[in-house]
Symmetry: C2
Subunit: 215 residues, 2 copies
Amino acid sequence: MTQQVRVHNFCVSSDGYAAGEGQSLERPFGHADPAQLVAWAGATASWPNRADPGGSRGLDDYLVRDFHRNIGAEIMGRNKFGPQRGPWTDLSWQGWWGEEPPFHTPVFVMTHHERPSFSLSDTTFHFVGGTPADVLDQAFAAADGKDVRLGGGADTVRQFLDADLVDTLHVAVSPVELGGGSRLWETPEELLDRFHRDVVPSPDGGVVHHLFWRG
Amino acid sequence: MTQQVRVHNFCVSSDGYAAGEGQSLERPFGHADPAQLVAWAGATASWPNRADPGGSRGLDDYLVRDFHRNIGAEIMGRNKFGPQRGPWTDLSWQGWWGEEPPFHTPVFVMTHHERPSFSLSDTTFHFVGGTPADVLDQAFAAADGKDVRLGGGADTVRQFLDADLVDTLHVAVSPVELGGGSRLWETPEELLDRFHRDVVPSPDGGVVHHLFWRG
């Protein structure tokens, strides 16, 4: 089985934005309300941040839980890792996820600014430069035969799409307009030159799932 | 995480039959054409019997590949295991699946007729009597903390539903009428007294997926 590059549970607004303008420590999604974008996932039994047992086990749950299937590494952009920009002035920042990040694999953070690797629980963060293809080589090697999840944000997914390095994408489109911010696409139809697509309205979550796979 | 009892990729006709009348070695689905019922699954990348690479990776593929996620044992009825009825007169029959059965876990075949256990590759078949609850106790123990797949046929799934021992069901309803055979239900709505349900038309496969989870 060839190793794949997969995007999962990537949430965008109806006008294609994954985050709003003015991202900061206090507002990691800028002017966007992340609860509006990810509510569909938060209602499922498999959502990792659930505070209580229960949750739905229908279509949305199938999509949420596929996040972990056969994944050996994650690649993310620096803007997903944290709100800082430019050289690292404070190495005490270790991401948004606390002592138990939900990745459980090596994570490759794409950045022009070097920083030593570190581990939290069973997740190790590496900070790497280079092209998407360079970073993917490292992630594939670390994944030990398994697939690589491309975690976002929008700019990072775009770079990999532009380099034609993505095999499957699941994007959940919410019925909210943001008007500006980090954009994945103008319209989902941009990808139909290279991808097959299923469009599946969620029966529960108020979003429309777009499932792309390479043609 | 509590162990669950799960039904996956269970295919029925629009009038609720999983197999037709007159099941035999030559016609394991009786007068039904299994290709009509399972074509949606056969078109996916994850279908285990694919003769060629490729296949779709959209909604139907998510459903097909969930078959293996966190499963530690399978329970099936004797009629799924083989076409024979009554006492075993020929122990050379080892199921429909050849030298590499697709289960890769212990399988518990429910039957009133004893027979020694045997193994093919990494699947071991046990032949057990008793109530659904008795058989489930054995399967849960063998599953070592993982879930138990309830593999069918329709009579076996019905017995477990009637004993209220099923946690989730995925049933794919095909637009073909069979008129008789092994019936799962009169209508899917029968289960709504105990289950939540998502109804999701397949964008590709011509079937309607019904995803049930316990309320």
